[in-house]
Structures are given as structure tokens and as C-alpha cells.
Symmetry: D2
């Protein structure tokens, strides 16, 4: 039985982690950390957990926790994990960090986009970017996982094969992303009130969203060169789900079959990436509550561009589900253990 | 391994049954019946099932099916199951009927409210009303289950203990119910279009909804007398969930503790009925995707009435989940097998 | 040209008042009061007003304002208006108070339900309860209007005729109400976040909501006796709209025609109350953005009860629209001036 | 008083036209045409119109109508208007066609994208594309208006100034559009059911949507050259609103001020196009129910691209409102007559 501690258990990603780990037969949650709700019953914070998790929330103490569990999930704001992780802690426990602290290899880029000083740059090199479909082998041996951001997960998986196979021009990538509101967190802000979000859609963080350098770095590995791209997220009136619509110029004429074969090459054996059938556009509702990413594409011969699409649940594959997937790999469990939820529809 | 066939697998309740049975370790679905989508891939009807269920839909043939499976679920319109069930079929297979055909013992009442002739009244007596919390023992031995309606399940469980213990006046019951739109089914009707339902709420079937006699019959058993009550359903802009708010006059002065003790007496050992803590009102979101019913109450000393509340997922405890619960009891499995989903929030 | 000042212009009701008054040909808004956004451009608080209202928000100074305008609307929290109103102010300006401060004639009841001391009980007697359809004549001569609460407006108008005509038993009234989320205001609270409200419904304030005594007082006048009733509001995932479903026992057998005639007697000449046709249930979407209240009823001969229904836009007839209607009466304008908006659908 | 007839009055665009014309002081609606609801009361089709429009729906007879009114609005499926318009009709009455029949000058392109034969190509040359901000003068003298499509209106207005001024490369334009569900019409289709659209987002018509050639033609005029661009619409769970996010490569380095000056040059005097302040992203909710288009832009120096954004109400500026604006111009009325609705928020 793997003993797990969650720091930041009362945010939406933390809550989803609890939901998934409760259904995982090899894991026992030992610690519900929450700075905001110390000593409060977890089920008072999330009433869906009534009679399921009646433990009390604990202070966010990583050092104390390190001695008691096998794995710590940090579902915390930027800077938290980097501020506390030490060699001693890492020698005792695996850390899966759901924040951005260890996702970006170039500390200057991190500090520029996140506007905070990185407190433990010495671990950036060791941290493994936990996009399992791409970095599976490194994940298995990792002590510290940088769990990918929601937008970067969906964007990278949708675009990666074509870039890796050299079918698209790396300088022409535009990613237009749409997300449900749970991505904005559970903080009490006017902008996230029901009446402000409902019946509304807007772009935000245009040309400045922090997930941009993360996507650029990952896609840069695929392209074998530095990439600058446009990434524009939008807030959509729904709880869960991310849809990305990506555009790039094709380097040469391609057929549907050729492109399909490329996606299949990378994803045919992947359980959580589904390449949809011809002309079927991904929909976020079809993956709700599950760890799937649905991808597809459409060639536009008129403009010599290709449109790549991906849909996933931002709280599952975009956060908690991927964290569990990483945990499974690290501990040598079947990669899909606890992640076999069939998407819920409607 | 229990072999299951689903007739009406492409409605919303049928789809939910598929989702639940896929996660049930002792069941194998052998037949996806659908009058509307014969020969179509199931995952073309419900794209969330892509690469999960790629079987083709079959004609709704109960006789053929009876020889091939251990249990048949009929998630079909009223009249279908009653029109096909025979002694021969029942001698081969268990039937769990999600329609209203066998819920009402008095065939005249059925025919009056449903405006159709009952085609097999001879089986009404044998059919067990599958509200497991109340009829558990009869369910175990049943061949034919009348799976309760969504509103009746939530209404009955919320009101039953107080009526059974004689705390409320059976002639004063008013049930005001609110349901998500999946309860209206997947038929293409203008009234159920997004733009007609969204940002809107209305009552429907006022003083005439077909679930009325079903609730009256079940609560009548608890009261030990015939009951006439008001039941008013409302359509709410959400996919899933039923909330019922029921009112009744108290027969005498009662304390919170006394009423709480009554609810606990009936539900303390029930896994799927959660009696919430004092002053916590049930919310449909807290039970989404799960088989739970959350109930609570509030005494109003000013009016000498009590307000009883219940929330559940109409497609799970109100349809498919309860059907699985019935199946578990019939086949001697743990009652919660395949039904341990933690509610999904948000 | 009537000069108007709004105190509390940046709440949802205040914003709606601005929208309506901008379309009113005889009114000029001179003062956008807002404690929270002093000196901020109004259109920065409500971007829909960009290039329409670029005035800056002012401090909430009622005394200063009294000398500059003809009418003050206070769309403020309970206690604000009562804390500032004076004889001197009332001698200069008409006040239409959208809070509860002057709605309840018995100051003890006010203080008990609102848990605050009333600072100017001497004006309670003078204040006119501004439900125009019922108190039209008194409104015309008023200096101080207690603009009715949203739930009380819809509840009273739906039930009033039957009570006044003695058709229903005043001791049996139960009002089950459903409201959109704008009724909860624009304050930043976790409970009102998009992800908490969306796909969810709950009751709140059960047997304790502050609008209860207001409804009881108004219906008490109709009945000619004190009334105790049950009032249960619910939060619905939509921005606007209130639906009430009210139940009462009929004192004697009545026909549809007889009850219809009673409603017509009271509302046939009322522009803003629409008695719908037989069997048509009111829907909140049909009155969105307008000052209409749609009412209807259904007799249940089985239970000898009648179900009364009403739908309106909580921000218009339930707040700002009714305030404008009151203003029109006070200043001798046509009652519907500025209130002829056709409901927006979808 | 202008006498107006509406053919197709019972679709969503037709309904919005009714709402707007009812508030227009110089117009009287004489004909509510509806193929589907002949002889039915209009208010039975749209209950929001109860006691407002109780006229009966008429057959869609353009010839009969031409003799009775001054202007005919056709809010009908493609092919309808082209199939009926004649010189005789046009000599009697102005026609404002909300369908695509006369929007595209090249009949081959029309027939290729719409897959129908054009029945009256002889009027294509005469028809004026009614995007008032750009073609104001031609509109004034027109007999036949091709009222622009919803997506083309928002896309063209957002991109036009930069293309006209030569700041962006016409070969690099990508338009990612998001629309509320009213754009899909009131037809009863499973895809548009509440439960299918709610909590969901998807792209549709990828690289094949019929509005593509219309946008290309209009932007081609601005660029002074043929254009091929990518246009991808998405279905968003909301009733109303279109947001477009457009991308293009800048031809040279530009400053915020320079681009702002370009937008102001074209729109400063336009009442219905609002160029938002720096860094404020358009939101559909801020224009709901109004004829405004809110536009803004963001320069991304990293990629040398510019992101152009536009938001409007698809049923108003994207359909009925623009039709009224065209009518005002044709009949010499103030352009904003009947179109001064303040956007409704929330």
C-alpha cells in the first residue's frame, strides 16, 4: 500500500486527486494538507466527501510529511514546492509537484514569466517533466516530477507527432485554447462568480499566459529547435474541460492517411490518447471525468495548413489524473491503475 | 461473470448503465440493444465510448437475448417491457425494467396515468419494486424488478422514515421536485434544445405527472393508508441531478434530535443514503455521478411543518445505479459492487 | 427631466437600475454612488457600459446628494438607508429604497429577522410598500418607498387574488421559490463561484429566510388575518429569474373558470402582470430583461389544493424595474415609461 | 410608419427581429411569416410575446406580401429568397435578406460552398452587402440587402482596419471563432439538445464552414487581393454571443499606439463598434442584447503577430440588429433608431 500525502488538498485539483486516489486500490491517503482549512473536516470543505473522507485538514508541513508517506503531491501555488524541497526530503519521499515550479528547465524563463524568484534551482535539472506519453522512461526513475500544466498537456499531445515527424513548420504554430472555469481555482474572486462567467466567453492572458514557455519548451524538443508560438486561452462557461485548436503550416502536401499514420505511430499503443476517426472533432464532454485526451486533425489544402485539435478534462489528464499516472509509473504499478474511469456523459 | 443485455442502450439511462457496468468487475455486457441505431457502432452514438465500446447496436429482441444472457435491463419507453415479457423469458433470465411498467400494483391506476393498456398484468404481482433500501429481501429472490422512477426514489427515501414512524400527517404531503434535463431523454424536441432550457426554469406536469401514483403507492405502504399528495416537478438548466423539497405537517412537537434519530434508524447502515449534518442542505452537485442520496430535514416550529430534502443523480441512483444495485442483490454480490464512485466535484 | 442619484450603483441591482434609467426618456442619472469603487470609472466596473457611462463612481453621500437630485435610489445592504434618512433629506428628495429597511411595519419583526437595530423607526409608518399593483394610490403620494423584495414581489402577486377573494385557506400556504444567482449579489464568495453554482441546485435559508415575514405581512393584508407560511428559496444555475410555486388548500370546490376570473379581476388591467392561458406554466426565460410577472395556476381536485405559479426577472420586476415603476407613479409619469422592454428570448 | 413583413419570423433570428422592431418607433410589423406555424398565434410559438404579439403566423408568401409592406425581411434558409425574388417584387418593396443568398458575388463559389443552385443570379450584382460600417453609402440606395452572416460580421470588423492599412500579411490570417448555440437555430436536433451542448465545447465545420468564402471576399476587398484564410467556428454552451480571436503576421514592427490609431480611424465615429481600452479583452456578455461589436487587439512582439479580438451578440449585430440598421439607412432614419439597447449584464 502506497502512503500518499496531498499538500493543497482543498483546491479543485487537490479535490480531484482525492477523488482519484480513493478509487486507487494500492494507495492510502494519509494527509490532507490545506493552509486555508486547517483542522476543518475535509468533508466540510467538499461535501461530496461526506462519510467518505471525514479526516481533518492538516497544516502544509512537507518536512513532517516526508517521514510518514511514500509520495507527496503538491497541488499548491507557484513557489511553494520550490521553497520547501530539500535533498533530505527527496531522499525519503517521491514528490509529484502539480505547480509550475519544476516544469521549465531555464530558470530565467521561469522567473521572467512567473515573476518570482526560484528558491531551489538546483533540483530543476533532476526534475522529470511528467508527460508520461513522451517521457515514460525517465518518469519511472524519478524522485521529483514536474506534473505538466493543463494547457501544455493538451497542446503538446495534439501537436507533438507532426512536429516530431517534421510535417509542420515550427515557426507557424498558433494554439487557441478554451478551458472550463475550474482551471481558475477555488479562490473567491468577482471574475469567477457564476454571473460573470455564465453566458460569457473571453480570451485572457493574450500573448502573456504563463503556460506559453512551457509549451514552447516541450514542442521545441520535438522540433529539435527553439520555438516561438502564439498561445491564447479562453474562459468557457463550463466546469471542466480543455479544448485546444492548433494551427500550423504544412511543410509539404500530405494526405489524410499519411497524417493519420503519424498520429497512430505515436498513440496507437497509448491507452489515454485516442485518435478519433476521420472528421470527428473532439468534444470536452466526451472525456469528462476521465484521463483521456482525444485528438484529431483536419488538413486544409486551400491554405496549406493543418488544424490540430485536442480535448481533455483539465482536472484529470490536465492535473490529478496525470499525477496519478506518474505515480503509477514511479512505483511500478500498471500505468492505468485507478484511471480507468469511463467518461461521464451527459 | 454475469452476462448482461441492455435493451434501450442508447438513451441517457442506457448509456449510464453501460458506464456503470463497464466498471463492474463481475459483469460483461453482451448486447447493446437500440431500436434507433441498429448496426451502428455504440461509440458512434456515444463518442465518450470510443475505443471502449465499439460493439454494434442490436435490434431490441428480448426473446433472442433471453437465451444468451443472465440479466436483461430494459431502459425503454413505457409499454415495451410489458409487451414482451413471458413466463418462458422469465424462466431463463432476470429482468430489471427501468420503465414504469411493473411499478404500480393497481393496473387501473397504471392505465389511467400512462394512457396505455398494460399487456402483461399477470406479472405485476410478481414484480418487485426495486427500492433496495426498503425492499432488500424481496429483491434478492426476484425474477422481475420494477426499477423505481427517479422522482419516486428521491421522494420516497426522503419522506419514508417520518411517515413510517408516524411523525407526519399523511394528508399534508407536498413534494416540490427539481430535475436536470437528462431526465427528459435524448429525443430531439424543441422544448429540450439548449437555448430553450438554458437560463430558464419551469414547472411541468403540474398535478398530473405520472410519477405521482408511484410515490403515493410507496408512501402509502409506509403510512399504512392510502395517500394523496401533491407532486410538482421542475426542469432545471443542468444535465444531472434531482432535488426534492417535501413539506408535511408534524403530528406533534418534535426536536431536531428526535427526528435525526428516526432518519438514522433507517439509514445509518445504508451505504447509499447519507443523512447530512444539521443545517446542511443537500446539493445535487455533491452526489453527481454517484449512487448516493443525500437527505436532510428542517423543522419549522412557526408553522409546525417539517421540510424534508433529498438530492441524488437522476441517472445513477435514479436509474442505472439503482438497477445495478438490484442486480447485485439478485446475484448475491456485494450490494455496492461497481457502485463505489466518489461524487465528482466540481 | 428628473434628476436621479443611485447609491449602491455597482451591485447587480444598481447596474440594472442604470440600464433601465438610461433608456428612460425623462430621467438623467447624476450620481453613481459606490462605496467599493470610489473614483473608478463606472464602465470599468461594468464594461457593458463602455462609452455609455464613463462617469466616475462617487462616495455614498446621501446628504450631499439630496440637494442635487429629485430622487435617490438606495440599492444598498440592510441598515444603510435607515441609518441615513432624515426629515431634512425627505423634505428635499424622494427616496426609493431597494433594501428591506422600510418594508416591514413591525420593527421588532425586522430586528429579529435581520439581526440589526433599526436606526430610524420613525419613518417606517410613512414608508409605502411599493408593490404598485396593490398599493398604487399610496405610492403616488409617497416620499419614501420601500421597494419590495424579489421573492415577496413574485410570491405576493401570485397568491394575492385567491387569498383576497377567500378561495384558499391562509394557514396552508407553502411557497417553494427558485432564483437565479444574481440575487446573491456581486460579492466575492466561494459559494457563488461559477463551479459551485453551475450544474447544481440547493435550498437555502430553509424556514429562516428573511423574506418570509415580508411575504407574511403582505399576504396577511390580503387575508385580513395574521399568516404563518413556509417559504423555501433555492439557488438555480442561471443568472436571472425567479419562479415561485405556491401551494394552498382550497376552501371549497372551484372551477378553472372561476379561478381564472379571479385572477383576471385583479390583473386584467395590469400591464405588467400576465395571466397565462390554461395549462401554460410560467417560465423565467419568457420574462427575462422585462418588468413582467407571468402567473398561472392549476387546480388539483385529488388533493383539493391549488398550485399557484409566478415567474419574473428578479433584477427587473424584482428590483430595479419595480423601483422605476414606483418612480413613475411618484412623478406622475406613465407607469410603464422606460419599462416597455420586450422579454429577450433566447 | 414603415410597414414591415418578416418571412421566417419563428426562427431565433426572426424572433429577435420581432423584439427589435417592436421597440422601433417608426415601424409596424404587418406580417409574421412562418412555414412551420401557419395560423398559430405568434405568442404560442414564443411565449415571451404573450399579450404583446398575438397575431397569427402567415404562410411565407413573398408576392402577396410585396404589395402590402414597405420592407420584407427574409430570415429563411439558404435558397428561399433567391428562389422567389423578382424584378416585380423589388420594384414594390425593399428586401433585406438575412440568408446567404446574395452575400457572395461569385455565384460559382456560392454554389460550391452551399451545394445548391442559385435561382436568381441576376440580382447578385445589385444586392448590397449590408455591413453598414463599411458599405454605408451603397446601403442607402439599395433595393436588396444581403445582410451579413454572424461570423463574417464580427470577423470582418475585427480585422478590416489592419488589412486596409496594410499592417498585416493577408496570407497569414487565422480566425478562431466561438459562438453561442442560438446560431444553430431552433430546429429539433439531438446535437443541439441541452444535455449535448451543456458543459461541452467543440469545433465544427473545420476548414469547410460556409462563412469562410464570405469572410474571404470581404477581407479581400480590404486587402485589395484574393485571400485564403482559416476559419474555425466552435460551439459554446451559452445562448448568445460570438467571440472571434484572429491571428495575423505583422508586416513590420508596430506600436500599440499606432495600431490603436488605425482602429480609431475606422471606428471612432461608429456608434456600434467600440474599440476597448488597452489590455481589455472583449467579452460576449458585455454586448448581450445590443447592437455593439467590441473589438481590441494585442501585439505579440515575440512572434511578430497580432491578435485581433471581437465580441458581439450573434442575434443582434450578427443578424436582426444589423438588419434593422440596414433598414434605417435605406429609409433615411437615424442609423441607431430602435438599436439603443444597453447591453444586459449579468
Amino acid at each position: 500500500m502506497i502512503k500518499a500525502g496531498i499538500i493543497g488538498a482543498t483546491g479543485y485539483a487537490g479535490g480531484e486527486l482525492v477523488r482519484l486516489l480513493l478509487g486507487h486500490k494500492d494507495v492510502e491517503i494519509k494527509w490532507y494538507g490545506s493552509r486555508s482549512y486547517i483542522d476543518k473536516k475535509y468533508s466540510d470543505v467538499y461535501q461530496n466527501m461526506f462519510q467518505i473522507v471525514d479526516d481533518r485538514c492538516m497544516d502544509d508541513n512537507m518536512e513532517e510529511l516526508a517521514g510518514q508517506v511514500d509520495v507527496i503531491f503538491t497541488a499548491t501555488p507557484q513557489g511553494f514546492c520550490a521553497g520547501l524541497v530539500t535533498e533530505e526530503i527527496l531522499s525519503k519521499v517521491k514528490i509529484i509537484d502539480l505547480s509550475a515550479d519544476f516544469r521549465i528547465k531555464d530558470v530565467d524563463i521561469y522567473e521572467e514569466w512567473y515573476k518570482i524568484e526560484h528558491k531551489s534551482p538546483e533540483f530543476i535539472g533532476e526534475a522529470v517533466y511528467g508527460l508520461c506519453e513522451i517521457n515514460r522512461e525517465q518518469v519511472r526513475g524519478a524522485r521529483l516530477i514536474a506534473n505538466p500544466g493543463c494547457y501544455p498537456t493538451c497542446s503538446t499531445l495534439s501537436v507533438y507527432p507532426l512536429l516530431k515527424e517534421g510535417l509542420i513548420d515550427p515557426n507557424t504554430i498558433i494554439i487557441d485554447a478554451k478551458s472550463g472555469t475550474s482551471g481558475a481555482g477555488r479562490g473567491a474572486k468577482v471574475d469567477n462568480l457564476y454571473c460573470e462567467v455564465n453566458e460569457n466567453i473571453k480570451a485572457y492572458g493574450v500573448a502573456s499566459h504563463r503556460h506559453t514557455p512551457e509549451i514552447e519548451e516541450q514542442l521545441g524538443y520535438a522540433a529539435g529547435q527553439e520555438i516561438r508560438l502564439n498561445f491564447t486561452p479562453h474562459l468557457v462557461p463550463m466546469n471542466r474541460g480543455i479544448l485546444i485548436t492548433a494551427y500550423a503550416s504544412l511543410k509539404r502536401e500530405v494526405s489524410y492517411e499519411e497524417v493519420k499514420a503519424v498520429y497512430d505511430k505515436y498513440y496507437e499503443k497509448e491507452q489515454f490518447v485516442r485518435v478519433l476517426e476521420k472528421d470527428v472533432c473532439p468534444q470536452t464532454k466526451w472525456v469528462e471525468g476521465s484521463n483521456y485526451v482525444d485528438v484529431n486533425f483536419k488538413i486544409d489544402p486551400r491554405t496549406k495548413r493543418i488544424i490540430m485539435m485536442g480535448a481533455m478534462d483539465n482536472l484529470v489528464k490536465g492535473a490529478a489524473g496525470q499525477a496519478v499516472q506518474n505515480m503509477n509509473l514511479i512505483f511500478g504499478l500498471p500505468e492505468n491503475e485507478g484511471l480507468m474511469q469511463v467518461p461521464m456523459f451527459p
